[in-house]
Structures are given as C-alpha cells and as structure tokens.
C-alpha cells in the first residue's frame, strides 16, 4: 500500500517544553484522517509539523521523520517551499487576505508559484477551485470585491478554494469549523466528503462528534502522545484505551 503521508518518531519541542512525544502513524490516500484530542494536546503543532509551517516559529525544534512519496521532508536538500506546495492548508480562523479581492485570494498562490501560463488558464483554475469549494455560485458576480465582505462560512470556503488552487496532494485542516455557526459547519463537512475523492484530508478537531461524522480513520492525541489510532468506526465503538473511551464518551476535554 502506498501512503499519502508517513510520520515516524516525531518529536517537537517549544524551547524546553516537549509538545509532541514520539508520534508515529501513516495515512492512506484519499481518506479523511482526523486527529482529535482536548485543547492543548498538540494537535495544531502536529499538523504544522507535517508541512513545516512550524519552521516559522523560531522556538520550535523538530526531530523524527515525515515522509511524503517516500521523501523525508526534514531531510537535507529538501526545499521547504516545495514541501509546503504539496499541501493545502485551512486554518482555525478564516483568514483570507483581507486586502485582496475574492479572485486574487484564490489566484495568488498559482500565480506566485507559476502554476499557470496565462490569464485564461488562471481564470479557469480560480473558477474550478471556487466550484470545488462550493462557493462559485455565491461569488461569481462579485469576484472583484474584497474578501472581507464575505460571511465567516464563505470566507472559510474561500480559504479552502485558495488551498485547492495550489493543486496539493494533501489538505491540512486545523479545526476549520471551530469559529463557524452550525449551518456553515455542516456545509464544510459535506464539502470534505466530496473532496476526499481527489485529495487526502487530515483534519484536526477538538470535537469527537465531528471526527465520528466525517473521518475514515482517527487518531487520539493526549498530552502530546498518540494514545490510539484506527478506523473511526472501531475507535468509536470499541476503543482499546480507557482514555480514548472517556474522550469519545464526552467525559474528558
């Protein structure tokens, strides 16, 4: 079996603080893989270690390996911008570039990375990305308007379109619905199920119900340690660890 991503003996420190403790797991292609756990367990850090966005934090130190297509992204001679282009990332707070238009938000990545030859190709790519993010019909007449005029849920779908426009293999999502209302959240969850046809999705959530609803595989992270990992149906019905059981039953975090 070929894996979308393999994490081996990953450790992360912030200064002296050991945040991620010897975590290993593998994610198959075209699945939704959820990382769940209580607040502060290191989920977001783990996600940022996978596309080396953690490099932005000068106090973070990483040991171990993360492999995509067999290439260790922490190896020597690996270009960090190449690593990040393999991933699309969606964040907890919808964060479109507020000073750019809806169109420019999606077009920026492909343009700066030279993914398109000309304007018509770019237009097409932007349209496709917005369609895939279920946003096209709502914004097709307002492409030149600032992204800040969109609602929170629309902004988050715009961020998904921005990520898709990079043509990534894997989409990383850091609690993408944490700041949205229930209607906007369920729209995003529907979208995820659609997207896994073409992408591998790794989603971080502090909400076990969300993990149960959308994911195929789930990992339970607790205080930086990987407590349990498996098919979602198994982990939720027959958890092998008492901590996992407490968590999925809502008795913790």
């Amino acid at each position: 079996m070929s894996w979308a991503i393999e994490v081996q003996n990953l450790n992360v420190w912030y200064g002296d603080k050991h945040i991620i403790k010897n975590v290993s797991f593998r994610v198959p292609k075209n699945v939704i893989f959820a990382i769940m756990g209580p607040s502060g367990c290191g989920k977001s850090t783990l996600l940022r270690a996978m596309n080396r966005l953690l490099d932005l934090n000068p106090h973070a130190r990483v040991e171990g390996q993360v492999k995509i297509n067999g290439i260790n992204i922490y190896g020597d001679n690996v270009d960090v911008t190449w690593v990040r282009r393999q991933f699309g990332m969606v964040f907890q707070i919808p964060n479109p570039f507020p000073h750019l238009s809806i169109y420019e938000n999606v077009a920026l990545g492909p343009k700066l990375n030279g993914l398109v030859k000309d304007k018509s190709q770019l237009d097409e790519l932007v349209k496709q990305a917005l369609q895939k993010a279920y946003l096209w019909d709502e914004v097709k007449n307002d492409l030149r308007k600032p992204a800040s005029m969109l609602s929170g849920g629309q902004q988050q779908r715009l961020c998904i379109a921005r990520a898709l426009a990079l043509k990534p293999r894997i989409i990383l999502m850091d609690e993408p619905t944490a700041n949205l209302d229930p209607v906007a959240s369920s729209k995003i969850e529907e979208l995820l199920l659609e997207l896994k046809e073409d992408y591998t999705i790794i989603i971080v959530t502090h909400n076990p119900q969300q993990a149960a609803r959308v994911s195929d595989y789930v990992a339970f992270l607790y205080m930086g340690e990987l407590i349990e990992i498996g098919e979602t149906s198994t982990v939720f019905t027959r958890p092998s660890n008492i901590l996992t059981e407490k968590y999925v039953l809502g008795r913790m975090g």
Binding site: L53, P58, R84, Q86, M89, I93, H99, G109, L112, N113
Partner: protein, 279 residues
C-alpha cells in the same frame, strides 16, 4: 458639605488640566499663524522657481535652487535611508528573537535621540573632508542616517501588526520568504509602511543640522551634480535669516511658509492613511 468641597476641588483640577492641555497646543498655532502672516504673501509660482534676489536692488526673487536641492536630497535620502530602514524594520519584526535584532533595535532607539549635528559631523568626516568640497551626496547620506531609525522602527511596528494567522496563510502557499514578505504581506502592512516612509520624508525635508556641515548651501546655482554643493530650504532659511539684508529676510519668511506647507501636507496625508485602517 464635604462632598461639596470635593466637587469644587474636582472641578478646579479638571479646569487646570484642561487649560494646560490647551496651552501645550498653542505653540503650533502660534508658529503657523506667525509663519503664514509673515511669509504667505511672498509665495507665488515664480517664488518657487526663481533664483534668490541680489541682496540689494533687483526683483523679489525666489527659492528655486533651495527647493530643487531639498527635492534632490529628500529623494536620495528616501532611496538610501528608506530602503535600508525598510529592510532593517522587516528584520527587526521577523527575527526579533535573535540577539542581533535585539541589539539593533536598541541602537536604533538611541539613534532616534541622537543629536543630528553629530550625524552631520560624521558625514563631513567621511565624505566632505576627503573630497575637500561640500557636496550633495554628503548631505543625502547624513539625512539618510537621520531617518533610518524612524523608518526602521515604524516598519517594524507595521509588520508586527499583521495577524500571525495571515503570516501562516502566506507561507502555506509554498512561497519563499522574500515573496511572502514583499508580495503578500507588504500589502497587508502597506498603511503602516507608507506612514513610516512619510515620517522619514517629513524628517528629511525639515532637518537643518545635518546639512550645515555637509552641503554648504549654494545661493545662486540650482544643481551641479552630487559631488557639488547644493542648497536646501531649511538651510536657506538659516542663512538668509542671519543675513543683514531685509530682502533676504523676506525670502526666508516665504521659504518658511513653503516648508511648513510641505510638512503639514505630509502630516495630513499620513493621518488620512491611518484613518483609513479598517478593523
């Protein structure tokens, strides 16, 4: 009874403090009224273009060479000091954890308070003395040194004010750091950066002390090259105001009105930019 006394004291103190606040703003109005009432009547298109008048006889004359000089010096200072200041500020913001950035920032904060005449003296030592001639480049370098800390510290603030999540969004697009900072995040910080440059612009246009020992101030020639002496409006005001000729005093007043107008215009533009910031 006691309550009443407290109320009276409260009113009294408030009155005193308000009066002091108003008093602190009086000089700016007094200066503006003074400068414009003495100088505004001399300002005309010819005044901005013409050579200064001869001390006695002749027409009204103008401040052409000094205005050209100020434009040349300010443009050079912004090009040199602006770019050094910008990249220094960016470094201070994004590498604030490094010791180099911490020391640099400390030095820049000292430089803000530095007597600018000493900057002029330094430029004299390295650029005027070896060339054995006062020259425009020395003045531009001195002005650059003066404005670098202002620009760097304000650019730092501008980049610091970008939300971290936008920084993550920019880098998640898989672009290199220069592209992230200059093509994506610069426009998110553009108002702060523009304000920083305008502060530098106003400073460069208004400074006199760094020019005293560097450009000399030609009176009757416009621009003869960067290695030649040049004039500037503040220096013209200084030289003409000290002269014994009534006509030159008038030119100095007119020049003061022009300079004040330039500074106020920069101030108003930078205020408008700040106001435009949306939450």
């Amino acid at each position: 009874m006691r309550l009443n006394k407290r109320k009276i004291i409260d009113r009294l103190m408030l009155g005193i403090i308000s009066a002091l606040a108003i008093a602190s703003a009086i000089p700016i109005f007094a200066i503006a009224v003074n400068v414009y009432s003495e100088g505004a009547r001399y300002i005309s298109l010819n005044f901005l273009i013409d050579l200064p008048p001869p001390p006695v006889g002749g027409g009204g004359g103008g401040i052409g060479p000094a205005l050209v000089g100020t434009l040349v010096l300010v443009a050079l200072a912004l090009a040199i000091g602006g770019s050094i200041g910008f990249f220094t500020g960016l470094y201070l913001s994004e590498f604030s954890h490094t010791r180099l950035a911490q020391y640099t920032q400390m030095f820049l904060q000292v430089m803000v308070e530095f007597p600018t005449i000493i900057v002029g003296l330094f430029a004299y030592m390295i650029l005027v003395a070896p060339l054995k001639r006062f020259n425009a480049l020395a003045g531009a370098i001195a002005l650059s040194i003066v404005i670098i800390p202002y620009i760097a510290l304000n650019v730092r603030e501008a980049y610091k004010s970008i939300p971290y999540t936008l920084k993550e969004a920019a880098f998640s697009l898989g672009v290199s750091a220069p592209i992230a900072y200059l093509r994506i995040l610069l426009s998110a910080a553009r108002r702060g950066v523009l304000t920083a440059l305008l502060i530098g612009l106003a400073k460069a246009a208004g400074e006199t002390a760094p020019l005293l020992l560097t450009i000399l101030g030609t009176t009757f020639t416009y621009f003869g090259g960067l290695d030649q002496p040049i004039n500037a409006i503040p220096l013209l005001i200084y030289n003409f105001a000290l002269s014994p000729y009534e006509k030159w005093h008038q030119v100095a007043w007119g020049a003061a009105a022009v300079l004040l107008t330039i500074i106020l215009a920069i101030f108003i533009v930078s205020r408008l930019i700040v106001k435009e910031v949306k939450v």
